[in-house]
Symmetry: C2
Subunit: 234 residues, 2 copies
């Protein structure tokens, strides 16, 4: 009998924003997987869930997923991680893979999910949704996202100026994720559209390092945190 | 001293998808507000949180927000509800207003939030984000929403065919909320774009009445549940 593979969203950073279901699964799953970006780095999600884990009963596997656009390197790491997870599942152990926010919104889990579903169709996979950084950033910023007939767009930080302009024109609310990489260019577009005053920057939402900046012009030229987003509400 | 006004997201319907924070607040808040659509109807959220409430210690106020597009009627109900909430806050009691999903994504709470912020700036308001029906529907349908450079659009069911066509062309994943009202027209647009096979319908996500339909053509002409959405993933 194979174990069950759980993808567990644990919310954006505040340990209280985990769901009761995620908490239950993380307290009993024999194997807990935590993603991290470098071999010598800590895992961001460890700080959210470490109080739930009992190292005497549970095995914690840290899996490295480097922040790179090199597709071959990424696939190598996804394959290695899948191999480790599958070995545990095959031995009958349930495995809980922890993701910041929600497992189906720009997460590393999605790659392991696809591999396991495609190559091991007999494995039961359960996805536990979590509070995403999008709605929790809106909550801490006091910025209602969408109401009534309003429309919401969510974009990662990989877009051209013209595309971004179009989306900002068409949608009532636009959330730009991982905005750190392209901040100055985005600010330029916002200025052109007269929207710089309608933007709020949030990074490390819900964690002790949380930062909320309402005058986003102040951030020009700054090196920004990776876990950052901007909400533009017209 | 005024009480604190909490907007508490309790997730989409599964009582286990509530956060630890929402649970803590709902267990102690002296006044709990539950929205419902008709005087003689039950409140959908009551089923999610009733096990947390102690009627001996806590007052439960049901507030009616009718499902209508009549703006004057809506404003009358928002004002009446705000009046009831403010009376409790003024007497020093903390009030927790419960919302299905997340408080800042198409919720009734947003109107009370705006009124209280504008007219009673001395009141402390805290918004507790919740798991939205968008990511939880994706989880139960086994449909990863967005990854890498992909873009997500979320629309309520108030759009014209041409606008919808444009969004379906431009975005990788489109979530159509309250799709029950316009289902047949949406299906027509999906058929024209060759996307009917890429759509999944989910209603009452996470509740005992949850329904997942992968062949959405079967739903043509059917009277559909109000708490319904469709995910279109190209």
């Amino acid at each position: 009998m194979w174990g069950t593979f759980f993808g567990v969203g644990v919310g954006p950073g505040d340990p209280e924003l985990i769901t009761v279901k995620a908490q239950r699964i993380l307290k009993w799953a024999p194997v807990i997987c935590l993603p991290k970006s470098r071999e010598d780095a800590g895992s961001y999600v460890r700080g959210i869930i470490s109080h739930l884990i009992d190292p005497a009963r549970q095995e914690v596997m840290e899996l490295v997923f480097p922040m790179t656009k090199d597709r071959a390197q990424l696939e190598e790491h996804w394959a290695a991680a899948t191999g480790k997870v599958v070995a545990k599942l095959r031995s009958g152990q349930d495995v809980a893979f922890v993701t910041e926010g929600d497992p189906f919104v720009y997460s590393t889990f999605m790659h392991l999910y696809a591999e396991v579903r495609d190559r091991y169709p007999n494995v039961t996979v359960e996805v536990v949704p979590g509070v995403s950084s999008i709605t929790s950033a809106a909550a801490v910023a006091g910025l209602p996202l969408v109401d009534g007939a309003e429309r919401l767009a969510v974009l990662p930080a990989t877009y051209e100026g013209e595309q971004l302009t179009q989306v900002l024109r068409d949608f009532d609310t636009v959330v730009l994720l991982k905005v750190n990489r392209v901040f100055d260019r985005v600010l330029e577009t916002l200025e052109k559209l007269g929207l710089a005053d309608r933007a709020v920057f949030v990074s490390r939402c819900g964690s002790p390092q949380q930062r909320i900046v309402r005058d986003v012009r102040k951030l020009r030229g700054e090196e920004l945190d990776y876990l950052s987003l901007m909400i533009v509400k017209k």
